[in-house]
């Protein structure tokens, strides 16, 4: 970067426009190139590895030395697509549940004044600080006990995992939504109320359409956190046909990292690209949501 300003000393008195540009703005472009390389080379590497016909980690350092879709085809011989399905089911159910329950609670806190409102808000604020994953031993034991009574809610049930994820729906999302709900003027509710709309009509037909951006953010965040969760999914889902992508793909790599690198890369591309696109498309909303509440990294 410094070398690019080299011509400057020779014409020190009257730096040309060009060298001034280099000094103040221009040097940032090479820096940007370095950062982009740093950010993207692992992703380029995994794309190249997924197209490598040998399908193992050895020899992948020469990028795009062969282009073949063998690894993608090989995914069909594994449970990969089952895991994709499970992840989609669990993630979507957790996202929809989180959106509905979070929105309903935020509506109540934002629009009604009731006894214990402040107390409930404070308790929620405190509760959401404690990560549920830390209590996984208790979750495991609870599901063992529940499974004896209701087998559908026991260990190795997707429904049970969804319920576990929904446990955090209120704590994590209510605050994010509460602020957004408050920004919608109360006068609108009043007008609708005078028209004879009931509280549920106001909620479903008036408020929900107005807050749809935050609903999308909360839904996406809930989906991503279910998508990325390993520890709870690992202890709840036992048999391989119930696994989510996180559990299944970890198993591939932890067993035989080198030999299964090809299918892992192909699976990574398939699993990550939709999330990547969704995230980048909605980045404005997500960043707003992240800075005002939950944190991913």
């Amino acid at each position: 970067m410094a070398t690019s300003a080299a011509p400057a000393p020779t014409r020190r008195r009257q730096p040309t426009r060009r060298s001034r540009w280099w000094l103040e703005v221009g040097w940032r472009y090479p820096v940007a190139a370095v950062i982009i390389f740093y950010a993207a080379f692992p992703l380029v590497f995994v794309l190249s590895a997924s197209l490598d016909e040998r399908g193992s980690l050895a020899g992948t350092s020469a990028l795009f030395s062969s282009i073949s879709f063998q690894n993608y085809a090989n995914l069909n011989d594994t449970l990969f697509w089952t895991w994709v399905g499970n992840t989609l089911i669990i993630g979507s159910a957790a996202a929809i549940g989180a959106v509905l329950m979070g929105a309903a609670a935020a509506y109540a806190f934002s629009r009604f004044r009731f006894k214990g409102r402040r107390f409930s808000l404070t308790s929620l604020l405190i509760l959401q600080m404690f990560p549920q994953t830390v209590a996984f031993v208790a979750v495991f034991l609870l599901l063992l006990a529940l499974g004896n009574v209701v087998p559908a809610l026991g260990i190795n049930s997707k429904l049970a995992l969804i319920c576990v994820y929904l446990g955090t729906a209120l704590g994590a999302n209510t605050f994010l939504m509460y602020g957004f709900f408050n920004s919608i003027p109360q006068d609108m509710d009043e007008a609708a109320k005078i028209d004879g709309a009931s509280h549920s009509q106001i909620f479903w037909k008036l408020i929900m359409p107005l807050v749809s951006p935050i609903l999308a953010v909360v839904g996406l965040l809930a989906f991503i956190s279910a998508f990325g969760d390993f520890i709870l999914a690992r202890i709840v889902l036992v048999s391989s046909e119930n696994w989510t992508l996180a559990v299944g793909m970890y198993q591939w790599v932890s067993d035989q990292l080198s030999a299964r690198w090809g299918i892992f890369s192909a699976g990574t591309i398939i699993a990550a690209v939709p999330v990547l696109i969704l995230f980048l498309a909605l980045q404005r909303y997500i960043v707003g949501g992240l800075t005002s509440g939950s944190v991913k990294g």
Partner: protein, 537 residues
């Protein structure tokens, strides 16, 4: 919404007040029908849970489900409690899967729940009796047919030309009108369906169920029970242990050893031996004491705790600084294509974290990894196998994962900074370093401090990065405990708990969870105070 203005003049008119149409249909509209249907469903489900809890004698679940169901009915059918109608569904999940699990963690932390101690005393006695069951030496061999009925699987045996049927709950009793074949095996039993032999042989799960089925011979437990090994003949099994409820002892009738329950939930014999089955007991603070004094645990756990704090602090600072640096460099309106650059910069953040960690695991592989190949001339640097290099690798990978977050946050904060203050400083002659140090940086800290603390709390429990990248390894060599030098508290808890295999020690794991809760709670409490202080400032 806009019709509000049209309708209001009508209501002001001095006519006899007419009820609005919306009001007329209230209570009996579609909404009410949907609510009714939903509540019917909820009640049906709730009742079935209550019934099966009753059958399984799970009193805790029974109480909880009764209370929750009644509460649901009260909330949704009373005219009042409007706010609760909206909060209740989320609240139920919150109470069961977060509040309860946290409280239960505290309870488990005070017990020795774990391998060998994972049932209540009653169940421990029962399973001790079952485990000790042996085939009675002079037991007759009965021709057996496995039967299926409403109460599940049962055994039908031919005894002296008669057929007796029983299930796990129902002792053997004579059934009339059954048919036997030449070998004395029942072929037809009224009220029961005889399971064909071929099905037993082909269905693994069924076969397992049959071999673990125990049908009591009579109401007296001491007479033993019928069991089968292969599904065609049954014989009587009896436990050599006898449970004396009054004295609280198990006596082995063959050897005469008397087993008494000790304070640790183990049945100890008077000859010094002990039974493999124990039960959990309250041990108070023993788990906490064990974590700091047990020579196997104390050293490794201390190292793990130190690394947890250093990892969380270092990763927040490093990614904050890198993100801030990038944000400062690219927060300039003269740069073209800022949007494209920004999108490319945050690629690692948009990539699912667990996949990134696994990806780096491959890239850092000492033999075939591209990090060694590309940047270190093919040297065999064992990034993930050396304690210090592994720690460094984790910090490096997590930096890659999380600098985009701070880049975005700092960019946002820099852009929302009041321009006049900087302008004033510039006029006063402050250089760009001075501007940054005295104005931008302090303002930036105010707006990002809460996020930094949240990020600390997140990384304190960042299980994914540790487990996916190194599995917590390389293992400590000076202890038998399955912990390693990159384990943080949450991954240590995971290893100790044994939920994914290995020896289970739920009590100790829960105790460590409590420690994590306390740390996270304290940090968050400080954060709240600090943010208020910073804002005042």
């Amino acid at each position: 919404m806009t019709t509000g203005q049209d309708a209001s003049p009508e209501t002001v008119k001095p006519k006899p007040p007419r009820e609005s149409y919306a009001r007329q249909i209230q209570g009996m509209g579609w909404g009410f029908l949907v609510k009714l249907l939903l509540m019917m469903l909820v009640n049906a489900l709730g009742l079935s849970v209550i019934l099966s809890a009753w059958n399984a004698e799970a009193w805790g679940i029974l109480t909880a489900s009764v209370v929750l169901l009644i509460a649901a009915d009260v909330v949704y059918f009373s005219k009042r409690m409007l706010p609760l109608k909206y909060i209740y569904p989320g609240l139920v999940f919150l109470l069961i899967f977060q509040v309860f699990t946290m409280a239960y963690t505290a309870y488990v932390a005070s017990t020795n729940y774990g391998a060998g101690h994972n049932v209540s005393k009653e169940q421990a006695v029962e399973s001790a009796l079952i485990q000790d069951e042996r085939q009675v030496a002079d037991s007759p061999i009965y021709p057996l047919a496995v039967v299926r009925g409403d109460g599940g699987l049962g055994f039908a045996v031919g005894v002296d030309g008669e057929v007796q049927v029983g299930t796990a709950e129902q002792p053997l009793e004579v059934v009339d009108g059954a048919a036997l074949d030449d070998s004395g095996r029942p072929t037809e039993v009224p009220g029961w369906e005889v399971v064909p032999r071929a099905e037993l042989l082909s269905d693994q799960e069924l076969a397992q169920e049959v071999t673990s089925l125990r049908v009591p011979v009579s109401d007296d437990a001491d007479e033993g029970s019928l069991r089968t090994r292969e599904g065609s003949t049954a014989s009587i099994y009896r436990s050599s242990l006898v449970w004396d409820e009054g004295a609280g002892t198990l006596t082995n009738t063959e050897t005469g050893v008397v087993y008494t329950a000790d304070e640790f939930g183990t049945f100890r014999g008077d000859d010094g031996s002990s039974l493999p089955v124990g039960f959990y007991v309250n041990v108070g603070f023993d788990n906490f004491v064990k974590a700091v004094t047990d020579p196997d645990y104390a050293g490794p756990l201390l190292k793990v705790t130190a690394w947890t704090f250093s990892f969380a602090i270092l990763t927040v600072i490093s990614s904050f600084l890198l993100g801030l640096l990038f944000a400062l460099i690219f927060n300039d309106d003269r740069i073209k294509g800022k949007k494209v650059l920004r999108t490319l910069f945050i690629l690692p953040y948009a990539f699912p974290a667990f996949l990134s960690a696994l990806l780096w695991r491959g890239m850092l592989n000492s033999e075939f990894g591209i990090i060694n190949d590309w940047f270190f001339f093919g040297a065999n640097i064992n990034w993930l196998g050396d304690p210090w290099l592994a720690k460094f690798s984790i910090l490096f990978v997590n930096l890659w994962l999380s600098y985009p977050y701070w880049f975005l946050v700092c960019t946002g904060a820099l852009q929302s900074m009041p321009g006049e203050t900087l302008e004033a400083a510039k006029i006063d002659g402050a250089g760009s370093w001075r501007q940054f140090r005295s104005i931008q940086f302090p303002l930036l800290l105010v707006s990002t401090a809460p996020l930094a603390i949240a990020s600390f709390a997140f990384n304190f429990n960042n299980f994914t990065i540790i487990y996916m990248l190194t599995n917590g390894g390389p293992r400590f060599t000076d202890t038998s405990v399955p912990l390693g030098s990159t384990d943080i508290l949450i991954s240590a808890i995971y290893q100790i708990s044994g939920v994914a295999g290995g020896r289970a020690d739920y009590g100790l794991a829960a105790a460590l969870s409590i420690v994590v809760f306390v740390v996270v709670g304290a940090v968050s409490a400080i954060a709240f105070r600090q943010t208020k202080k910073l804002e005042e400032f």
